[in-house]
Each structure stands twice: as structure tokens, then as C-alpha cells.
Amino acid sequence: MAEVMQDYATSEATNEGAADQTATKTMNMIEAINSAMDVMMDRDPDVVIMGEDVGYFGGVFRCTAGLQAKHGKTRVFDTPISECGIVGVAVGMGAYGLRPVPEIQFADYIYPGIDQLISEAARLRYRSAGEFIAPITVRSPFGGGIFGGQTHSQSPESLFTHVSGLKTVIPSTPYDAKGLLISAIEDNDPVIFFEPKRIYNGPFTGYYDRPVEPWSKHAASKVPTGHYRIPLGKANIVRAGEALTILAYGTMVHVAQAVVEANGVDAEVIDLRTLLPLDIETIEASVKKTGRCLIVHEATRTSGFGAELSALVQERCFYHLEAPVERVTGFDTPYPHSLEWAYFPGPIRIGRAIAKIMKD
């Protein structure tokens, strides 16, 4: 079974870069994610989608809207409210040879499914010496900024990057979301695909008292309607610069960029896109060039992914560093409701960190 799927994945004709040859459409992030699944369902009869409210209704964030009507209800279906069951049956379907794309309604609700992810999906390949694999892509909206309180706001990515055998992907634009999701679905290993829900409809910049521009005003909303890939493990330099390197992903890419524009600092902003496998080459080259590094994530600080990034930069770029590596993160508390903006690592926190890092 595994070989069959390997063949499938390598026999694809479409390549990176082929995207510009196809027709494009203006899409927000929800539409781009929807389009990725639609394209993959057209191309591969083994792709199935399931999750709470994803079928007839099309998902509480509408990411699967229309897919059941088009592809049928044995390929796109609602599930019982059991995240353990959702991930567990996805693993079983993968063992049969399907390519399931389960949705967990909010990342905050992924925990009941964690044993199936960590002990099972992540280790099938290893423990069976490649005889069984888990080619599943678990999609889930994550992150705060929507007044969702502590159970609709969390960023648990580092729980998953800590597990051997799981890939973790976080897009920051419609264009990236589609290309990365296609790569994730085609990947033969289990992928956690976290969607920053704060930027589903527009690139939120962290200035919460200003209106958010819709995606249609942003170049990355021009999304090819067909199949294209953005490879996993490749970061994107969204702004080239010389003064310092900012590492970010998801919503924080836009927040960091906005602060950089406002401050006029010549920062190089790198959107990691994939946390694991990590594009260490791009990071290393940039920090060696700038000599300064700021890491920005919304997740809590202690043992967050920033700790891993900071260690890597220190190990690999120590003799090029002109200032200590800085981290800007959410605070180490549950996500509060009314004090959401005091919690969120917004422009002030980032601006202060940039000032500190540029001082010496």
C-alpha cells in the first residue's frame, strides 16, 4: 500500500513554479484552503475530508463549503464530536491507503486526539519500519485575536513540533495556504496544518483599533485556480533587509511587517511557513548577514517554538551575532478574554524588542 502511494506522489507532473501558467482568482484564505482541497479531491480519489460540521454545512469557518455537494458525502462528511475518533479513524483510513484530511474545529480541541497523533500517527512508519504510514493532514484553525477566550485562541504548535514524526505547517497568505496545503496532502507523513484564523479574511497587522484590509487588496490573494505546490520546509523572505532578521509565521508575519514599516528599520522578515522540517539554511544565511535576530510568535513563551529557533540561531550563528537573540511572544498565561490585546504580542511589544536589539 505504501509503495502505491509513493508512486502516486512522485508521478505527479505539476511542479513548483508552474503556478504562474494557470488562471488565477482573487481568494481570501478560506477560499484558498477550500480550493486546495477541491483540487486535490479532483485529482486524487483517495482524498477524503471529515470533521465536526464540515459536511453539509461546510465548516464553522466555511473552509469546506460546497465540497460535499461536489464530491459526495462518502468523501466529505460530518463526524461525531470526538477528536480522538476523528484522528484515530484518519489513521485507519490512511492504513487502508486513503489520504484523509481531517479538520479539528479549533486547535484548542485537538487535545482529545493527541494520543492518536503522538503515539500513533507520528510513529506508524517508524515502528513498522515503513510498512504502515499515516499520510494524513490535520487541518485546524488556531491563534487568537477574535475574542474567543481561552478555548478558541490557543497556539499549540510547539506541542507538535516536539514530537518526532509530525510535520507542522502554518501559512500566512491565501497563496501560501493553498500551495502548502496541497503539498501537505500529497506528503506521505502526518502533517499538522494550523490555519491562523485571525487572518482568514484579511492580513491583520496587530493594530486592532484600525480596520483590517481585505485580502483582495493584497498581492498574495491572486491564487491559481489549479494545482500548484509550495514545498514543505521552505521559508519565504517576505521583506529583504540588512539590519536584523525577524523570524515569524502565521498572523505574526503581518504584524511584524507592519511594525517594520512603521519603524523604518531595515529588517529582513522571514515567514517560516513550515516549522518542521525547518528551513534552517534561509535562517542561517539571513542571521549571518544581519547579525541580529528577533523571533515573534503568538504562542506562550516558555518552551514555545521560539526557544527552539533561538537555540538553533545561537548554535549556528553565534560568532555573527551582535546582540542576544530576542523573543516576542504571548505571555505564559491562558489566553484571556477581556484583556486580549494586552496579551497579544502586538506592535508595542515588537517595537520595544526591535529597539532593544538595535541598541547595542
Binding site: 480519489p45 454545512f57 464553522v60 462528511f77 498565561t333
Partner: protein, 424 residues
């Protein structure tokens, strides 16, 4: 991979995916919902073996008949004051829901959840328990707080996440916590309260206490592992617990078939665990009272836990974030065969000669005014997003009993950030 290896002489397997009775625009047909006569279910002794009461998991305990009389073995024969107090509390719950739903629409808070049509499943259940029995609710049991007399302004302060909110604005609206009324802090993660209630009841038994515990979850949530863990522990330790499943037919957009309702009842989940199971007309306050009273008596006399399925209907959207017209027929609510719980109790009180339409209309006005006054009072403490929130420091408190160094540093940082944003 291609299609599976077919052996041509065998029938291909087919996946069953449940479908609800109706979708938007469809005519509604509830003819498959069997509504037995109000006096049709026998009432066994509270000490009965679960094996000798299996029919109660498949039937429907009902007390109010079509003429609004209380009939049959399950009639709890309540004093008139109790009937009127339940009626008033259910009406208050509805008035509160109406007003706070509107407050959310006016931008005063982020979120709200009504329990319209399900008021009996919490109010009558609370009425049949002792005031100090511990409850572990889901997010739709505001009726328990109403019955136990919680101050409306406290509830609204929480909903507005304002500086009067004793939960310090941390929780999503309606996620109350009221230990003084034996009401556990509400979680957003479904069914987690189920094993916790069993654990509380086990503790009460360990200590030789006399208080029992009760929990609630929706029918959709019975799919979670926590539900089944709770059932197993309740069964193994004969824990003095009442486990309520509010089967309101819908879990956001998913009908009860996605929790297994096409195959059996939710009350019948009890059978496999060797627990007493009761299936109750959840829109009949007297039936809910009677079933809860039966289960409480059973638990209190060390005869074991009871699973109660409250068969009801979610008359409105899942929450303020939901538009049910996108996935179910708008007619369903009006045609629900078990009617409305407030209307039914009201008609019963009228039939008894202790109530009338005029008094009811006057009460509704009075309750609306009362809620309005409480809202105005709470608004003095601010509404969400208008600066009158808790001090920044409170964000870091209660993560632990004491503040470790890293949170002290982060607190200082948050205060510096505030000073940078709003220089005094």
C-alpha cells in the same frame, strides 16, 4: 491508490453517512418521533436493578398529558408554590436569554448562548436536587443558576467581562463559576465535566458525605471519550451521580444521528455500562423533576448512578456565532412535537386553577424589567472592549497560587507596554 481490490462475486461494501430528516426549505416531518401517552411508563422503585428497567431507556417518561393534567406513576405531585416557582424561573431564564442575546448583537459582548426550549432540563432538574448537591454543567444550564438564585448582575458582569466580573474577564461569556451555589466552573472543552462530576461524587462517598453530584452535556458531546470514561467510573464505583444528556437534536449543524441516534437512544448508553437509564420528555418540567428526583433518591441511598436523556429541541441557533437556517429547516422548531416547556407548565398551572394568562403576561413584563434593571446595573461596570476591564496585573494572577519569576517579569512588561501605549 486505485479503487479497492474488488472480488466480483461479493457485494461491494458501502459507507453509511447519516442524513437528518430535513434541510433548509424541506417540509418537516416528525412522524418518526414516537410520543407515548403521559401515563404509559411504569415507575420502578429507586433501588431497581438496571437490568429490570431497560424499557425506561427506550420509552419516554412524561407526566403532562394533552389536557395539561399531571398523570401517571411519575407525577411528582408538587406543591403549587413549587410549580409556580419553576414556571417563574423558566420564564426568567428565557427573559434573560432574550436580553443578553440582544446585548451581544448591540456589541456589548463577544458571544452569547441561549437555552430556549430547553429551560426545563436545567430548572426542573435543579429543583429536584438539594441546593448543595454539586453540579457540573455544560454551557446551556443557566437555568440552574436562576433556580439557585444567583444575582443576575453577577451573571451579566461575567458576560460583559467588565471590571465587576469576579472571574476577572478571563472567561468567554456564560462560562460561569459559582462555588457558593455548588456550581462548577464551566469549560469550553466538551464533556470534560463528566468524569469530574463522577470524581466529585466518588470523593463525597469516600468521605461519607451525603451530597451527590450531577453533570450535563449535549447529545453531540456523548461521542467524546470523557463521556465514556465517566460512565465506566460511575459504574465501577457505583458513584452517586446523575448524568444528564440534553438531547436537543442538534450539535451546531450536526443532527443527533452523528452521535448515534439512528441506532439507539442516548439513555440506552446506560445499559452497556450497567447503569440505570431514563429517557424523559425534556419539555415536560414535571417529568424532568420526577426523573431527577428518582435518580437523586437512588444515588443518595447508595443504589448507584443514573443516566437521564432529556429529549428536547434546540429552538434557536447554537450560539450568537451560528445561523441555523443554513443547515436545518426553519419549520422544525414550530413543529417540534413536544411543544414548549414554559407553555406546557403554564397551561398546567392554568388547568389547576392557580394561574391565568393575565398573571403570566404581567410576570413576563416584570421579569423583562428585572433583567433590564440588572443589565443597567452591570453596565455601570462597563461592557466588553470599553476600557473598564480588570487591571492588567490580574492577567497573571491565578496561573499558579504564587507568581513565579517569569510571570513577575511578564507582568512588569505588560505594565510597561500599557504605559507606552497610554502615557498618563
Amino acid at each position: 491508490m486505485a479503487d479497492g481490490p474488488l472480488r466480483s462475486n461479493l457485494q461491494p461494501l458501502a459507507l453509511h453517512v447519516p442524513e437528518p430528516r430535513s434541510r433548509p426549505g424541506d417540509p418537516v416531518d416528525f412522524s418518526d418521533v414516537i410520543v407515548p401517552a403521559a401515563d404509559s411508563m411504569a415507575r420502578p422503585d429507586e433501588a431497581v436493578s438496571p437490568h429490570d428497567m431497560r424499557d425506561l431507556s427506550f420509552g419516554l417518561v412524561r407526566v403532562l398529558d394533552d389536557e395539561h393534567r399531571a398523570v401517571g406513576a411519575w407525577d411528582p405531585r408538587l406543591p403549587h408554590e413549587t410549580l409556580l416557582k419553576m414556571l417563574r424561573t423558566m420564564a426568567l431564564t428565557r427573559a434573560f436569554d432574550e436580553r443578553l442575546y440582544r446585548a451581544q448583537r448591540q456589541g456589548k459582548t463577544s458571544f452569547y448562548m441561549k437555552c430556549t426550549g430547553e429551560e426545563a432540563t436545567s430548572v426542573a432538574a435543579a429543583a429536584a436536587m438539594q441546593g448543595d448537591d454539586m453540579v457540573f454543567p455544560s454551557y446551556r444550564q443557566q437555568g440552574i443558576l436562576m433556580w439557585r438564585g444567583y444575582a443576575l448582575t453577577e451573571m451579566i458582569n461575567q458576560i460583559y467581562s467588565n471590571r465587576g466580573d469576579k472571574l476577572k474577564g478571563r472567561q468567554l461569556p456564560i462560562m460561569y463559576s459559582v462555588p457558593e451555589l455548588s456550581f462548577f466552573t464551566i469549560s469550553g472543552n466538551l464533556a470534560t465535566q463528566y468524569p469530574q462530576a463522577v470524581g466529585w461524587a466518588m470523593a463525597s462517598a469516600i468521605k461519607g458525605d451525603t451530597r451527590i453530584a450531577s453533570c450535563w452535556c449535549g447529545e453531540g458531546s456523548t461521542a467524546e471519550g470523557d463521556f465514556h470514561s465517566a460512565m465506566t467510573f460511575a459504574s465501577v464505583y457505583n458513584a452517586p451521580t446523575i448524568l444528564n444528556v440534553v438531547n436537543n437534536q442538534w450539535a451546531i449543524s450536526s443532527f443527533s444521528g452523528f452521535a448515534g441516534a439512528e441506532r439507539t437512544t442516548f439513555a440506552a448508553r446506560a445499559i452497556g455500562y450497567g447503569i440505570a437509564g431514563l429517557r424523559v420528555d425534556g419539555n415536560d418540567a414535571l417529568a424532568v423533576y420526577a426523573a431527577t428526583q428518582w435518580a437523586a433518591e437512588r444515588a443518595r441511598s447508595n443504589k448507584g448512578p443514573t443516566l437521564i436523556e432529556h429529549f428536547t429541541y434546540r429552538a434557536e441557533g447554537h450560539s450568537t456565532s451560528d445561523d441555523p437556517s443554513a443547515y436545518r429547516s426553519a419549520q422544525e422548531s414550530a413543529e417540534w412535537p413536544l411543544g414548549d416547556p414554559i407553555h406546557r407548565l403554564k397551561q398546567h398551572c392554568i388547568a389547576l386553577g392557580i394561574w391565568d394568562d393575565e398573571r403570566h403576561a404581567a410576570m413576563d413584563l416584570e421579569l423583562a424589567e428585572m433583567v433590564k434593571a440588572a443589565t443597567k446595573e452591570a453596565e455601570k461596570n462597563g461592557v466588553l472592549g470599553h476600557g473598564m476591564h480588570q487591571p492588567f496585573e490580574t492577567m497573571f494572577e491565578d496561573v499558579f497560587e504564587e507568581l513565579p519569576w517569569h510571570l513577575q517579569e511578564q507582568m512588569a512588561q505588560a505594565l510597561e507596554e500599557r504605559a507606552a501605549k497610554w502615557p498618563k
